[in-house]
């Protein structure tokens, strides 16, 4: 097994792809935390803890769930909104959950508005601007998600979670696979279950900014 671990950065001027460091994707029914294969149950608990610890826990929904291009996408969008509302209900004063879309994958020039969107080509700008210290990608095409996750790991200290509808993401610190409405709702249930049991990082120096 690889000794490499997928941890919050800033990792490197150009961090490696976790797959090239020997990190393998989970099989169906599994997830990974820091590149180590775990049960989905353990991943739900850890993801909920990370959200509840964060100063700015943020959901990044992508194009696959932002538009109702099929019934499943519409239901997922509703579930994501439920997760966001659950986060808002469960955090403590001083914590600021956010929901920032990744509407498309075009590089944004001359300048992205980091308060309203995130872009896979320069996701660090949105992370830095909003001081996001924990985020979850959902409904982002896998290639674009990996692009973003590596750049975030390279230049920020943000904890990254992927709720992937396909095979998962090694470049996230925690990744689910085969995302479904049920899995999103289960994660929301875990957030509610752990409400009040997790100490937020409000006074910690740890933040999304690397400089």
């Amino acid at each position: 097994m690889s000794q490499y671990r997928v941890l919050p950065g800033p990792e490197h001027f150009l961090p490696p792809a976790a797959a090239s460091m020997g990190i393998r994707l989970p099989n169906p029914g599994e997830a990974h935390i820091n590149g180590v294969i775990v049960s989905e149950e353990k991943a739900y608990e850890e993801a909920a803890k990370q959200f509840l610890m964060a100063k700015v826990p943020t959901l990044f929904p992508g194009p696959l769930v932002l538009w109702a291009w099929n019934e499943k996408a519409a239901k997922k969008a509703t579930a994501i909104r439920h997760l966001y509302n659950t986060l808002k209900e469960c955090v403590q004063p001083g914590q600021k959950p956010m929901l920032i879309p990744m509407p498309d994958y075009r590089p944004k020039y001359p300048k992205i508005n980091p308060e309203v969107e995130i872009n896979p080509n320069h996701p660090n700008l949105t992370i830095w601007h909003n001081k996001i210290d924990c985020c979850m990608f959902i409904g982002v095409h896998c290639h674009q998600a990996n692009l973003s996750l590596k750049i975030i790991r390279g230049g920020t200290s943000c904890y990254t979670i992927a709720m992937c509808a396909q095979a998962g993401h090694e470049d996230a610190m925690l990744s689910f696979r085969d995302a479904s409405v049920e899995k999103i709702m289960t994660l929301a249930d875990w957030v509610r279950k752990l409400k009040g049991t997790v100490q937020p990082r409000l006074t910690s120096a740890k933040s999304g900014a690397s400089n």
Binding site: L14, P16, A17, A18, A19, S20, R24, L25, P63, N70, D104, Y105, R106, P107, Y109, P120, N121, H122, L125, H141, C142, H143, Q144, N146, L147, K150, I151, G154, Q166, A167, G168, E170, D171
Partner: protein
């Protein structure tokens, strides 16, 4: 839209049943058939639920390309046409794949070289196109004869690269190749190579799956990039590319993009192992002497081993099936006992030996040869001679053959 799993058990317009690929390849009855490699390509395509095949004539793949035209006439291929050149063909393949089609093409030698710009583009755009490469000479003066030099150029394109030894490999791997290529965590093109003429133009007994079974269709909705959207990369990068912006963010994005392609090659490892039963095959790995080869050099190596056994010399074999992903750990493990590793090749540069040398510890054990090129055959006797020479045994020179 229906996903491809829900179509299993239903019939296509030719009356073939969409069949679970694992069942079709591993459990369905096989019929022994006596076919050329080119005919085998046609028979595999008959069962591949291929949407688009684009052809261009170049020896030795022309026959296969023409035979697939017959399949189109019979209604087994969604669309089929001849491009204006190999470069055009590969660009048109990209267009079809961008549009969500399962795409197939064949090329060889100078055609591969002419089209080369497209291959990293295919990988970068995550297009799971399958390209058969029936290897032949590429240099001037013109040669249409077997020579595997062009494979060396494909190894760093980001494509998956497999090297078939036999027509049976070819039949199975064409169908299985799509299963690996189209996994959403892989989603890369596959260059399925063979040694031209030796495989394409010789007949062999090949066990075929039932003709009334076919692969489930490609599901482009599992792609890791949008199927086609002119506002989004990869398509939009043609007119609004981040690579054209000169700043750190643009460079970092492109770097991350390149890394993602090679990460996908890595991810293909577990799928390739599952579908083609390992990246390598081995025999006698406890032997002091190992032959490591790919393509038809494996067959010649196998015969050399038999000749050596007659003289009481025990020799093992590693058949390298997948060149990308590269079986680094497997080759290290299979050759750990070897005092001598011989790498017979059908090309002048010895690209496989270089890969092996970069892989195994104590690479002075690797003997880069024997090599032939330009269409020469490789008699097993020259492999025997190479091995015996290194072992300090007396051999008879084969240089006078034909005199």
């Amino acid at each position: 839209m229906a996903d491809n799993k829900s179509l299993i058990g239903t019939k296509n317009k030719k009356g073939q049943t969409f069949t679970d690929t694992w069942t079709m390849m591993n459990d369905a009855p096989r019929t022994p058939s006596f076919y050329t490699g080119s005919e085998v390509i046609k028979e595999a395509l008959r069962r591949a639920s291929c949407d688009v095949m684009i052809a261009y004539p170049i020896t030795p793949q022309s026959e296969a390309a023409a035979l697939i035209g017959e399949l189109f006439a019979e209604g087994y291929i969604g669309d089929y046409f001849r491009g204006e050149s190999e470069f055009a063909v590969m660009s048109q393949c990209a267009g079809a794949a961008f549009g969500g089609a399962r795409v197939f093409t064949t090329t060889a030698g100078p055609g591969t070289m002419r089209a080369m710009e497209n291959f990293p583009m295919w990988s970068g755009a995550r297009l799971p196109i399958q390209m058969i490469v029936t290897c032949r000479g590429i240099n001037s003066p013109l040669s249409i004869q077997p020579d595997t030099l062009e494979i060396a150029y494909l190894l760093n394109t980001g494509m998956l690269v497999w090297h078939a030894e036999t027509a049976q490999d070819f039949f199975d791997w064409i169908l299985k190749g799509y299963m690996v290529s189209e996994e959403p965590d892989v989603h890369l093109p596959l260059a399925l190579c063979c040694d031209g003429f030796f495989v394409t133009h010789t007949k062999d007994v090949v066990n075929l799956t039932p003709a009334d079974m076919c692969l489930p269709p490609y599901d482009p909705y599992r792609s890791p990039v949008p199927c086609m959207d002119m506002e989004c990369p990869p398509v939009r990068m043609m007119r609004d590319p981040f690579v054209m912006k000169s700043n750190y963010i643009s460079y970092a994005t492109h770097a991350s993009w390149q890394q993602e392609i090679w990460a996908a090659v890595e991810r293909s490892r577990k799928h390739t192992i599952k579908w083609i039963n390992g990246l390598i095959d081995t025999e006698n790995i406890d032997a002091d002497i190992m032959i490591v080869a790919s393509g038809t050099a494996v067959s010649q190596g196998r015969e050399a081993i038999r000749l050596l056994e007659d003289e009481g010399i025990r020799c093992g074999l590693v058949k390298v099936k997948s060149l990308r992903p590269w079986p680094e750990e497997e080759i290290r493990e299979a050759t750990k006992n070897a005092k001598h590793i011989f790498v017979p090749e059908f090309n002048v540069t010895g690209w496989l030996a270089k890969e092996i040398k970069a892989t195994v510890p104590n690479h002075h054990r690797v003997h880069a040869g024997p090599r032939v090129c330009g269409g020469m055959t490789m008699p097993p006797e020259i492999i025997v001679q190479e091995i015996k020479t290194v072992l300090g045994m007396k051999t008879v020179s084969l240089a006078g053959r034909g005199s």
